[in-house]
């Protein structure tokens, strides 16, 4: 574990106040948006209104929120199939995310991409990638552009513990390190790949952090369920990147409350594991944190209510939205807007 102030796996915050009330409310808000939207996605799935697959981040909200709040406009997000949280954390409207899951015309990609491929370029969300590891090198490329042009944006690349065992991880980390690219690799270690515990298939205890030295990088493991901890670590990594000091690899310990994907009841978990982690539920941790810093119950409840209302409205908007027009089937294969592979 890193010795960031505020580190507290059990939810006991530190006492410093470098973060401040405004940011804390943002962090809370972001987590609640993700929680409510993901929970809604799950409910809609049970009502058969979400089609295809979906991979929720319930329980992992603090990571997306902590990084999202720390990111500046222009910073770029590269996410995975489990990318709703990271997309929302950049300010993408819940309606557009749910619309995509429900395969409606109001979806982020009007149903062409689906749950695993959320992207919103205007919010800096450069796509969600469903082939494990593929986006790590891609994030390097975006960072290379920033470095080349002298742009100050940082590319942030989120992925899971299981992703550390694929070749692209290794290539990207070395590549970023040798060229000191402004990219931050965020490993969300939720202890499982799909159904297999990461510990059964990995030669080291911390699949990302214990390999950082292989790329000349410091070992960083943090409590991924504490948004303050995440936020502080994100800020450090971003400052490093913007200063031209190269990439960071941050392993965030966390746990997903639901199964891997909608098809998964998660029976493979040892008894009590989920319950233990629910005690460290990031929302719960953060409500206590707000209280500790003197933020009123009313303020918290107001956020909760506002978010709930927003998600309700988004849901209704999606339900009312038409299916995508089939006109889009043959658009945007190529930059000319079409798909012609011949004359």
């Amino acid at each position: 574990m890193s010795n960031s102030p505020g580190l507290a796996l059990a939810g006991q915050p530190g006492v410093n106040d470098d973060i401040g009330e405004e940011t804390r409310l943002k962090l809370y808000h972001s987590q609640v948006v993700i929680r409510e939207a993901e929970q809604r996605a799950f409910d809609l799935f049970l009502q058969n209104l979400v089609k295809g697959t979906s991979h929720l981040s319930l329980g992992q909200e603090a990571i997306a929120a902590g990084f999202g709040v720390a990111m500046q406009k222009g910073d770029l997000t590269f996410a995975t199939y489990r990318g709703h949280a990271h997309t929302l954390a950049r300010g993408v409207p819940v309606e557009k995310m749910l619309g995509e899951l429900m395969q409606r015309d109001n979806g982020l990609m009007r149903g062409k991409g689906g749950s695993m491929h959320l992207a919103s370029e205007e919010h800096g969300v450069m796509g969600s990638y469903a082939i494990i590891g593929a986006h790590l090198p891609i994030a390097c490329g975006a960072a290379l552009r920033a470095q080349y042009r002298g742009d100050k944006d940082v590319s942030v690349c989120f992925f899971g513990d299981g992703t550390t065992n694929i070749g692209a991880f290794h290539e990207a980390l070395n590549f970023a390190a040798i060229w000191k690219l402004p990219v931050v690799f965020v490993c969300e270690n939720n202890l499982y790949m799909e159904y297999t515990p990461i510990s059964e298939v990995t030669a080291v205890e911390h699949p990302a952090a214990d390999r950082a030295s292989a790329y000349g990088l410091p070992r960083i493991v943090i409590d991924g369920n504490d948004a303050d901890v995440v936020y502080r670590e994100a800020q450090k990594a971003f400052a490093k990147a913007r200063a031209g000091d190269g990439p960071s690899l941050i392993e965030c310990m966390t746990y997903r409350h639901s199964g891997h994907s909608r098809a998964d009841p998660a029976k493979y978990r040892p008894e009590g594991e989920l319950e233990r982690w629910k005690e460290k539920d990031p929302i719960k941790v953060y409500r206590a944190r707000l209280k500790q810093f003197g933020i009123s119950d009313e303020a918290v409840k107001k956020i909760d209510a506002e978010v709930r209302k927003m998600v309700d409205e988004a849901t209704e908007a999606c339900k009312a939205a038409p299916e995508p027009s089939t006109d889009i089937l043959f658009t945007d294969v190529y930059a000319d807007g079409g798909w012609a592979w011949r004359n």
Partner: protein, 326 residues
């Protein structure tokens, strides 16, 4: 005789071969304790234990490379690549290692392995989890490439693949996993390189593979019932070796050829077969062969969109009807 799903046929086929031959081992991501993400390998871990049925890390290159090394030195590995789209991350083994080793060493080495993989669309998974990539393998010299369309074929062809001394890429169609079919009791063993005439006919030959087979059959029934067009439906089953005898035989009888391909159009198996047929049976043909394929685009996720791009029974009916009437 029992009715089982295509999904269960996979597990039964693997179990049949593992019980028969202690050199058969099986590994892949989440295939053991969890029984696979498609639940196609449930029970194998319990039956054969952790030595023979193994969960791997997310390391497709290591999975296929390890399968090759084990195969070269005496085992008969079955490796799973969860979705066939992921063949792209380990394509070096498919394209450059498995199929070339024996030839390059002038016959010194062998590579008797099976790669099983979930192929095809229909689950609304989007462009990176829905592809039909059998042609990525068909175009590589030195592989064998199989794609069954029914539970009984799954078992018989999987058994044949495991016993085959060459590398076989075995495409299971994700949208067929839930489909049921009659399967005889006892050992089932089929033959690679054989197509199957599933419905005899005299007016036109329709070649189909995997998920397109039931659609072609349904189309043939409609064409008969509504238009009195009598189609012969051939399940290609094996792209390599390719049963050109059955195909040419059928075209020689019907004088008309249609292929129904789920893959995007360019350089599909249909192109190869059409070019073989026109080169070798040009004067048998009464009309141009027609390929019915998914258009050459990435696959969209939304059901309404995905349903429009794959060849449907309707599209097959319309295409054949128009072609025969013109």
């Amino acid at each position: 005789m029992a009715e089982i799903t295509y999904r269960d046929a996979v597990a039964r086929g693997i179990a049949q071969e593992m019980a028969r031959d202690p050199d058969v081992i099986f590994f892949g991501e989440d295939v053991a304790k969890a029984g696979g993400v498609f639940k196609a390998t449930v029970g194998l871990y319990e039956q054969f234990g952790p030595r023979r049925v193994r969960d791997t890390p997310i390391s497709e290159q290591a999975i296929l490379g390890a399968a090759m090394g084990a195969a070269m030195t005496g085992l008969k590995p079955i490796a799973e690549i969860m979705f066939s789209d992921f063949i792209a991350v380990c394509f070096d083994y498919i394209a450059n290692e498995f199929p070339k080793s024996r030839y390059m060493t002038n016959g010194q080495t062998k590579c008797p392995l099976v790669v099983r993989t979930g192929n095809g669309a229909g689950s609304r998974f989007g462009a990176q989890h829905s592809q039909s990539v059998e042609n990525w393998c068909m175009m590589i010299p030195g592989l064998k490439v199989v794609a069954p369309s029914s539970p009984v074929d799954v078992i018989g062809l999987l058994a044949a693949a495991v016993r085959d001394p060459d590398p076989v890429i075995f495409f299971e169609h994700k949208s067929l996993y839930a489909v049921k079919g009659e399967v005889p009791d006892g050992e089932i063993l089929d033959t690679l390189g054989t197509a199957k005439v599933l419905r005899p006919g005299k007016d036109a030959t329709i070649l189909a593979l995997a998920l397109m087979v039931p659609r072609a059959l349904a189309a043939a029934e409609q064409l008969k019932a509504q238009y009195n067009i009598d189609c012969e439906v051939v399940d290609v089953r094996s792209l390599v070796p390719l049963d050109t005898q059955t195909i040419l035989g059928s075209v020689g009888k019907t004088h008309r050829l249609f292929t129904v391909e789920e893959n995007p159009r360019l350089c599909g198996w249909g192109a190869e077969i059409v070019s073989i047929v026109v080169e070798e049976a040009f004067y048998d043909l009464d009309a141009p062969p027609v390929r019915i394929t998914t258009p050459h685009i990435p696959l969209p996720a939304a059901d309404i969109l995905e349903d429009m791009v794959l060849p449907t029974t309707e599209r097959i009916v319309e295409t054949v009807r128009k072609s025969l009437n013109s």
